[in-house]
Structure formats: C-alpha cells, structure tokens
C-alpha cells in the first residue's frame, strides 16, 4: 500500500493541549475561540431537547430496574452530551456501533425505547433491526465492536457510499487489544470511522490512573497514525463541533478519527453496583456542576435561541416519553421459547429440529397440566 496516511508529522495527529471547550462550566462562551466551527443553533436546540428526553428516559430505565422490569441498567446520566452528540453528528445512512451504555444514544437515533431495552429486560439480545436503523447490536464484550466498525467503514469506502461509522467505547475498553487492532486496521485501510471514547473516569470501580499511563486516551491514536482530539465531554457544543469535524474528516477520505470525551458517570456502573465503595460524593459533586444540559440551556438562553416555552415543552415531552415507556414496559413481553432454535443457522440443522421438538413436547405437557 503506497498511500500516504496523513500529512505532516506526528504533531498533526496529536490532540489539543487542553480538551476542546466552547462553554465554561456555567455555560458562558469561552474567551479563546476553538479551531472547530460552531454548530448551528438549530442543531444545538435539537441537542438540548434530545438530552432532556434522554435523561428522563435514563431515569425511567433505572426506576424500572427497581420495579423488576429490567434485569439491569447501565446509566449514562451525566454523559448526555456524548450520547446525543454521537448521534447528531451522523447522517441517517451512517452506522453507529454502541456499547451497553448507549441506550440514550439509541433512543436519540429514533429506535423505540422498548426495542432498545429488550437486551436489558432480557427478552432478546437485540430488540431492534440493526439494518433498519444502521445501529449495530449493543456490544457487551469490550471494544470488540470497534473492529467491526472499522471493517464496515472500509466496506462503505470500497462501495463509494460516502457513509461513515462511529464506534463508542469507554475508558476501560481502550486497554483491550481489539481497540488497538481497530485503530491500526482503520488507519492502514483508511477506513472512515470515528472512535468515540467516553472517558467517564471509571471502568466499573477501576479509576483511569490504573487503566493507563498515557498522557491521555486520545494520545493512543498517534501511534497508529490516527488523527486524535480531546474534548470536554460535558460541553455539548464542543462535543458536536469536534464530532462533526471528525465526521467530515472521515467522509472526505482522510481516514479514521479518535475522539476522547472527558465526562463522568454520575451513577454507579449499573444498578447492581455501589459507587460509594470506590469514590467520594465530593468528586461527583464537582462533575454535577458541569452538567451538560444546564450548560447548554444557559448558553442557548443567553444567545436567545431558547426560551421558557422551549424548556417547558422539552420537559413535557420528556415526561410523556417516560410515561409511555412505563406503560409499555409494565406489560410482560411476549416470549416464544420455540424461537430459541431460530436463527442459529440460516436453515436449522436436523439436531436443532430434534431439540425444538423435545422442547415443544415439554411445553405441551406443561400446558396440559395447567
């Protein structure tokens, strides 16, 4: 392969010295103008509304675990700027490769929330149609889907479709071998893929300083020839600006782009975890002050792009969304045990046919007893 993978020296690949920010912690515009274009106000208004709905969805999902309606739920409370930014930076035909923590991103993408939550309710491994939404199944093994995102991006490049892919991972997953193989393959084959690392500071309980000694997670890109950037992950304007630039970079044939978004997981890893065992309330309080929704609301209000009506409307839409979700999740899902044998292979093997029959007899015997 004789293509040049990037122009300039390694410095051209390195992330900014400080994470890119457009907004201060309180939502004022920062003084030094970032080198990325400011997202348009309509997209930012859309992001605001999606974050409000997403946060309400997230709280409702956590509540559903307490009612026994979900087996488990990994919250992304506090990470809404990344969840929403990842989706709004993409076009409809682009592919998203989410992890289990991307439920808010998936509902932002327009997938029915009951379909999103099928995995965590436990009635199916993936409740939605990946081909319809261009969203891969939520991935539980860490970083394995990043290689798929690179491969699919390369496939799209080969077809000349102009489509790109975006793979989400957390800070812990950047230690996995597959993450590194994905960066390497993507760079070598100039695959149009964005790797979005939501660095929420903890991999379950393990803090970042036990995860890596790298200057930053974004620095991991340079070793592979991947253009990299760091962004304040609780600044929705900055997240959208950087991800949009990354999308443009990938779509225009310049290859992959790695974004590290610095954020914080305000809840425990899942409802089954207890974050008080490994971190302090004071630390979480620090991050609550940088709440992405409050910051964007303050910014848009100051600019006159958001008013009381908009805020009220978003809150009402979020309540309605949560109420509908509650109702739908309070109904038991329809389960078909015999469906277990479907889709193991395109055509079931004779052995699967026999096993299906045996389960069918069992079910009929149970039915006869009741």
């Amino acid at each position: 392969m004789t293509e040049r993978h990037h122009d300039g020296g390694p410095e051209a690949l390195l992330p900014s010295a400080q994470p890119v920010r457009f907004l201060t912690d309180t939502g004022a515009a920062v003084r030094s103008r970032p080198r990325y274009p400011l997202p348009d106000s309509e997209t930012l208004r859309q992001a605001y509304r999606a974050m409000v709905v997403g946060r309400r969805f997230d709280a409702q999902a956590t509540a559903l675990t307490k009612q026994g309606r979900l087996a488990v739920y990994p919250s992304s409370h506090g990470q809404e700027a990344c969840q929403v930014g990842a989706v709004l930076a993409l076009e409809d035909g682009d592919w998203l490769f989410p992890t289990y923590r991307e439920s808010v991103a998936l509902v932002t993408r327009g997938i029915e929330p009951t379909e999103v939550l099928a995995l965590l309710r436990g009635d199916a491994h993936c409740g939605y149609d990946p081909n319809r939404h261009h969203v891969a199944p939520q991935c539980t093994p860490l970083a394995t889907q990043t290689v798929h995102a690179a491969g699919l991006a390369y496939a799209e490049r080969r077809k000349g479709s102009g489509r790109i892919t975006l793979a989400c991972v957390g800070d812990g997953a950047t230690s996995e071998g597959d993450f590194h193989e994905a960066l390497n393959f993507a760079a070598v084959f100039k695959a149009p893929v964005i790797f979005l690392v939501q660095n929420n500071q903890y991999a379950i309980s393990v803090p970042l300083d036990r995860q890596t000694a790298a200057p930053s997670l974004a620095h991991k890109g340079v070793g592979y020839g991947v253009r990299s950037e760091r962004v304040d992950g609780n600044d929705p304007v900055a997240v959208l600006a950087v991800l949009s630039a990354a999308a443009e970079h990938a779509r225009s044939g310049q290859g992959p782009f790695l974004v590290e978004a610095l954020t914080y997981r305000l809840e425990s890893h899942t409802n089954a975890d207890d974050a008080t065992r490994y971190r302090t309330d004071a630390e979480a309080e620090e991050w609550r002050r940088r709440d992405p929704i409050a910051r964007l609301e303050a910014y848009l209000r100051r600019r006159g792009h958001l008013g009381d009506d908009d805020v009220t409307e978003a809150a009402a839409a979020a309540e309605e969304y949560a109420a509908r979700l509650r109702t739908r999740m309070n109904a038991d899902p329809e389960l078909d045990p015999l469906g277990l044998f479907d889709h193991v292979y395109d055509v079931p093997t004779p052995q699967l046919g026999e096993q299906r029959e045996s389960l069918r007899s069992e079910l009929e015997a149970e039915e006869a007893l009741t």
Binding site: P137, A150, A155, K159, G177, E181
Partner: protein, 339 residues
C-alpha cells in the same frame, strides 16, 4: 481443469473461481497477498484480481476476523486466512462472541457470510504452536459450521460451498494433505454440507474419520482386510452440520465403531460422536464404541509427533478390542485382570 491436482491447488482454484464469480468475495489475512500465503493457497490471486480483492493485513488475528465481520455487515463475503491453527486463538473471542452469534442475536436480521480458513492439525513436522487440532473449540460453538476436507475434490467443492453459504464457516485445511494428489476435474461439486461420505463400504466395523485421519483410516482398512476385517470408512466432511444419519446407518449395519481423530481425546469431537452412536445404535452394537485419538497432552515436538498421532497400528489394535470373539476388553476390567 482435469489432471493431477494437489489439495493446495484445488483450494487455490476454489478461491480463484469464487473471486471471479462474485465481486463481493474478498480474501485477506497475513501474507496472503503477493507471497500467496505461507502454504501458497492464495498464490497468484492478488496478481490476477488486484490488491482490493486479495490483500495483506496487519498481523492481528482478532483484527482480521473482526474486520471481516464489519465487511460482511457491509455486504462483502470475506474469506480470511488465519496462518496456523494455534495462531488463531487471538481471534477466538471474535469468533465465539460475534461471528457465531450475530445471526441469532439479531433474530436473523444480520447474517455473516464469511469463511475463516485455518491450516490445521499435524503431521508436517511443525515446531511448537504450528500443529493444534482445534476443531472441538469451534464445533462446540453454536452458530458456526465446521468443515474439514479429506480429498482433493472435496477441498474444492467444500470451500466453494463455504464461500456461498449464508452462515459463517470455520474451514479447517489439513496441512499434511495440502500436497496430497488426485486425478480430478475442476470445478468439482461433491455432496453438500451435512452429508458424510462412505469412502469404503464394509460390513464388519465402521471407522469414522474426518480431515487428516481419513487417509489413515483408509490405509488401516486396507491393512485390516488382510486380517479378515471388512471395514467401512465414513468421512464426516462437515463436523457441523453433523450427519447422524450416515453414521448411524453405518454402525447399525456393522455393529462396531471406531472413531479416529488427531485431537486429544478428552472432551473432543470423537467423544461426541461416540455418545451419539451409543444413543442411536445401542441395540445394534456388539462392542463398545472406541476412539483412536491423540493423547491428552499439549501437541508434542515434531520429532515426537508420530508417537502422538493415530496410525494404522493403533487402529488395528482398536479392532482387536472390538470383541469379535465375544471377549471383553481387558483394559477396563477391575484390576486389569483377564475375564
């Protein structure tokens, strides 16, 4: 093409014909480009079809398989080579968690028509980590088809079928048979997946073999004929899907069964076959179902591998234990005493 062909040439022809016949087919892996693969199975393909169709990748097996998953999702039909059986393990998570499960976890909405080719098993004097018999790992993973050819025309036909198949296929190429020759006419089409082949009909006992042990079983059957045994040899061809029908019909006819495989016997494919035969043929069996396998040891150094691999003598010894004279197998009596 008609004439004397090696299995390596037949596999190469299958890849060539698949690349020519379907532009979605892509071949990639380590050294498969200009070099043509360490076993030369991809020889000439990059020159003929270009670097877009047959290409080298970084040296990373999980990356190769994961990249193939993504390309298959994007509409391609990847055929990847993992250079040696024991070098395939870094890709195992991709294979077990994604390749095998994608169709099922998406309720049939995403299928992965891809082939993972692996030079497989022993008998070539390979140094450490170059000769594992890893079929049980794959066969134990629902969602994968597991194929291993034993003849030259099957090598061609099964690989073409694997590439055309809508399911992911782990295609195990017996290294020691790469240079086996046969008179064949290509393109050859043999029996489809899921059908075992009776390579030699016989009435006294059934030898079940697959991949590299099929020629050994055939040789043993020849030698046994001199001792008065009329052996049937069944070549599984596809471990998954497994052809219960052919194996069962054979053992019900012969009443005796010996399974021959190179892998360690414990918890191996041979154990599964023995269990299935026992479940289905119990009332036809005149003797215990026996296995002739490798020992339960890590693959030995090349100068010792002939002690490990099943051979004709061991198969003949097993035949002696098939109780043709109604004498029980003394090995398994209490205290090892004779009956």
């Amino acid at each position: 093409m008609t004439g004397t062909t090696t299995m390596a040439q037949a596999l190469n022809a299958a890849l060539r014909d698949a690349l020519a016949g379907d532009e979605r087919v892509v071949v990639f892996g380590e050294d498969v480009g200009p070099l043509g693969g360490v076993f030369r199975i991809t020889d000439g393909l990059t020159a003929e079809f270009g670097d877009d169709r047959c290409f080298d990748t970084p040296l990373a097996e999980a990356g190769i398989v994961g990249f193939a998953v993504g390309m298959a999702m994007g509409g391609f039909r990847p055929v990847v080579e993992l250079q040696f059986d024991a070098f395939a393990y870094p890709a195992f998570e991709q294979i077990a968690s994604h390749v095998a499960k994608m169709r099922n976890r998406t309720r049939g909405r995403v299928e992965l028509p891809m082939v993972i080719r692996i030079p497989y098993a022993g008998g070539i004097g390979g140094v450490e980590h170059h000769c594992d018999s890893s079929e049980a790992y794959y066969a134990h993973t629902p969602g994968l088809k597991v194929v291993t050819p034993a003849t030259v025309d099957d090598a061609y036909s099964l690989l073409r079928e694997a590439i055309d198949d809508p399911d992911p296929v782990v295609f195990l190429e017996p290294k020691k048979l790469y240079w086996a020759k046969a008179q064949v006419t290509l393109p050859a089409r043999t029996e489809p997946f899921g059908r075992a082949a009776v390579r030699r009909p016989g009435g006294d006992a059934t030898l079940v073999a697959y991949g590299p042990t099929v020629p050994v079983a055939m040789e043993a059957a020849e030698a046994a004929a001199e001792e008065g045994w009329d052996l049937e040899v069944v070549d599984l061809r596809t471990i998954v899907p497994f052809d219960d029908e052919t194996v069962t019909a054979s053992v019900r006819k012969t009443g005796r069964c010996v399974i021959v495989g190179e892998a360690a016997g414990f918890a191996g494919v041979g154990a599964e076959i023995a269990a299935r035969v026992q479940e289905r043929c119990f009332h036809s069996l005149h003797a215990p179902v026996l296995r002739v396998t490798g020992f339960d040891i890590p693959y030995p150094p090349p100068m010792l591998e002939h002690h490990h691999l099943p051979n004709v003598d061991r198969i003949l010894d097993a035949l002696d234990r098939l109780q043709r004279d109604d004498r029980p197998d003394t090995r398994f009596l209490p205290l090892g005493g004779a009956a």
